[in-house]
């Protein structure tokens, strides 16, 4: 289902019915929340879903956490507001890892999200609900958030397009902050065209978010790119990582496909990327420890009434937050403490700078960087992983967040019946270039596979 196919029809009720009937097991939609869009908007009648860390006035925003279980949003996020004005209607809020921390969507207070392509497997996270809902065909698109791969990874697992724009393209106003310097709203849908259309509507400078940038090129105007005219680089780390053999094969298939189209593809060594996961897991929890401090039971949300202020704080947060959230708050608090600040946080900022500069330089030379989106296929529900194993699933997606680059997951066939995705990373604030390449690749690959089938 795409926006293009749906324009002019009102499928709001139809979509809601699908969710009611089909979502009990998948658990991608937490609640039906209906906010009808502008009746005169071009896209009136088309429904969308929003990750439950994005605020829409009068609806709950739980962040899939007990601490905000009954929190009602007092205002609407800029991005959602723009979609409503364009005529789209919100029909519900999607499941996610608690406070967007996780990549399998098993860290939700409201239970895990199952993969619509294989119900025994995870949807990926943290925007698992948003990816699964599009994958299940409820809606043509949904909004997620991407701090270290949280849109691209579940998109890859659920077989949909998942786009994280350049940092600053889309206002974060109304998005519950996880790691402010990395967070960005992402779009999940079935085509690059839809993604471009949605970003074109919601992008732009927002007075409520000073980190937004202005972007004037129309993202939808030219989505074709001659693939024989592009230079692609693959960071060597892709081949050094312990990849599932079928992932390696599928990835090489995509490389060969592009080479056959005439693209220049080169493997280059970027040793700095080895540190990106480490840097990310210092910076993101540090910012999170501060961003999540406001959930204290004082002004809103869950409160464990206790005798004394400190007990109230302690028990509210102990009961209100899940284990992964607490783990990251503790890590972040440690990283920022006066004794360790220079050893960890400030060093991580420096390495982030080095990685970013390196990527900017490389992308001066190459049009895009290409990797598998995930080093592994979707794990089974409850498959035992230690946190570090989980964290390494973000190896390929994290660099784009560190450098603020646009990055996209494009579905590319199946592995053992499961979706597989290719990630393209583009130049900063040149999202239109990345989208054109991704769209051309996606459309021609689809044709190619139809031919083969």
């Amino acid at each position: 289902m795409t926006i293009e196919e749906t324009i002019g029809r009102n499928i709001i009720e139809e979509s809601i019915q699908k969710i009611i009937e089909m979502d009990k097991i998948i658990n991608s939609v937490l609640r039906i929340e209906k906010v009808v869009g502008n009746k005169n908007g071009k896209y009136f009648g088309i429904p969308f879903l929003v990750k439950d860390n994005i605020l829409v006035k009068g609806t709950k925003t739980t962040n899939a956490s007990k601490i905000l279980e009954n929190y009602i949003s007092p205002y609407t996020a800029t991005a959602v507001q723009k979609l409503l004005e364009a005529g789209f209607s919100l029909i519900g809020k999607t499941n996610m890892d608690e406070f967007a921390m996780g990549n399998t969507n098993e860290n939700s207070y409201f239970g895990p999200v199952r993969n619509p392509k294989d119900l025994s497997r995870v949807s990926g996270g943290s925007s698992g609900g948003s990816a699964a809902a599009v994958g299940a065909g409820y809606v043509p698109f949904s909004l997620g958030t991407d701090t270290g791969g949280s849109v691209r990874l579940p998109a890859s697992f659920c077989g949909v397009v998942g786009f994280k724009p350049s940092y600053g393209m889309i206002s974060r106003y109304g998005v519950t902050s996880f790691a402010s310097s990395l967070d960005q709203i992402g779009i999940l849908s079935n085509s690059v065209k839809d993604v471009s259309l949605v970003v074109e509507i919601i992008k732009g400078k927002d007075k409520n978010d000073p980190t937004t940038l202005s972007h004037t090129v129309d993202l939808t105007s030219n989505l074709e790119r001659d693939l024989s005219d592009i230079k692609i680089c693959i960071p060597k780390i892709v081949y050094d990582t312990d990849l599932n053999i079928s992932i390696k094969n599928s990835f090489n298939e995509a490389v060969d496909f592009l080479k056959a189209k005439g693209s220049k593809v080169e493997v280059i060594d970027i040793p700095e990327l080895e540190y990106s996961v480490a840097v990310y897991y210092i910076i993101a929890p540090s910012e999170a420890s501060s961003n999540l401090a406001r959930f204290d039971g004082v002004r809103y949300g869950f409160r464990n009434a206790s005798l004394g202020l400190n007990d109230m704080y302690r028990t509210t947060r102990e009961i209100g937050f899940g284990i992964e959230v607490k783990r990251r708050i503790i890590m972040g608090t440690f990283n920022l403490s006066a004794d360790y600040y220079s050893k960890y946080y400030s060093k991580a900022l420096k390495v982030r700078r080095i990685i970013s500069d390196k990527l900017y330089n490389i992308l001066d030379e190459y049009d895009v960087m290409m990797t598998p989106t995930s080093p592994s296929i979707p794990p089974y529900m409850g498959e035992k992983f230690n946190p570090l194993e989980y964290y390494l699933m973000d190896t390929f997606t994290i660099p784009a967040n560190l450098a603020g680059l646009p990055a996209i997951n494009i579905p590319f066939g199946l592995i053992e019946g499961l979706p597989f995705g290719i990630q393209f990373i583009g130049r900063q604030m040149k999202d239109e270039e990345l989208l054109a390449i991704a769209n051309t690749f996606h459309e021609s690959a689809k044709k190619e596979f139809e031919k083969n089938v």
């Binding site: 605020l55 109304g174 978010d209 980190t211 406001r294 600040y341």
Partner: protein, 477 residues
Amino acid sequence: MYKTIIGLEIHTQLLTKTKAFCSCSTDHFNSIPNQNICPICTGHPGTLPALNEEAVKLAVKAGLIFNGTINKFSRFDRKNYFYPDLAKNYQITQHFFPIVSNGYITIEGKKIRIKRMHLEEDTAKMFHEGDQISTAQESFLDFNRSGIPLLEIVTEPDIESPSEARMFMEKLRNLLRYAEISTGDMEKGALRCDANISIVNLENNQTSKRVEIKNINSFKFVEKALEFEQERLIKNLEANIKMIQETRGWDSTRKETFPMRTKEDDVDYRYFPEPDLPPLILTDEFIDHIRSTITEMPEEKAKRFMIQYDLPQYDAEILTSDKELADFFEKCVKHAKDAKFVSNLIMTDLLRELKENDDEIENLKIKPEFFGELKELMDSNKISSKILKDIFPEIYKTGKSPKDIVKEKGLEQIDDESELRKIIEEIIKENPEEVEKYKNGKKKLLGFFVGEVMKKTKGKANPQKTNEILLELLEKE
């Protein structure tokens, strides 16, 4: 011989219409609790700070008038700690790169250096049922103040006495008011002061621990709290009592400081760069523009007063020591058209009343046009200078016009010669002994007769005419 070393940390609310990071009104005195609040200043999820340019302008202005270096690159940081009055449980401040570095204020020819000045946000106000959070059954929060822009000003430890600290604060407030950066109202919390003090025994170089005093909310208490602490520290040094570096509060009812916390309880604020705000980059054009908006400061104004109003330096300096006072003076002169007359009246009578009644110039009942009336009453000989002095407190307290008061009380000067002559004749008749003595050469008794006339007329007799008539009658026979 002891040397006192004092440094101040001052917080001043900036006079912006809206808060530092949202568009809520800053008018928290005339509002009901939690009237001027929004999701941003109450720390709701998803909200982001958007910097108020007015606050930046005022900070730069303050930097300029305090002779500081305006940093073209500055940045915001988060200061993390948990307290219910802190909406996000972190305060947005400028820890690593402040907007202003260096600077100084001159107190009686001595430079007190300013180390840094930076922007930050104010907290909410807390009220506890039973005063203290630890024992309160209920606590209440008012977020009207949450997010109001503050400028923190940190001095070097250049202040050497409690009275110098007070003078510094008064001068600082005066300059802040002049430049319309802050109301500088300490009682209302628009200007707050924490003081660091330590003592050195110059004979043996023994040094006390440094003590920080918090919650000082008036100029008088700045001096009193530091005096108390100075004495306490000297006593401790003399008695060789082991001291700890600590933070103490000022109890204004008991007039003493009390222990609040020691260094060991210090919170780790986990400062880090605020990722929601880009660095603050200022251009030369911006800074020059702010410079051009700075209006006349006290020294310039004093010079102008000396030239324009032909006032002695002493008068000019006192009148310009407070912007409101200077403005009031100029308004009065417009009506009275006699600068020295107004200056004298302000410097003696008005300032005395202000001090005695602990009033502010903004709230005066006495109006500038009254100074015109007073001048007119004097010039037309309707009242004497004595009557003027007598009725001034009443004008001041009631706000009634001088003409009305003079009329109501029948205080108009007696100018009428025949009336005066009648009174004086009576007095001469009543005091034959003194008349006798006078005639025998005791001329000093003239004063006695004048006094009697004034007593009888309640001071209303025209003094010059009284003299003339007295002399005439006494010398006659």
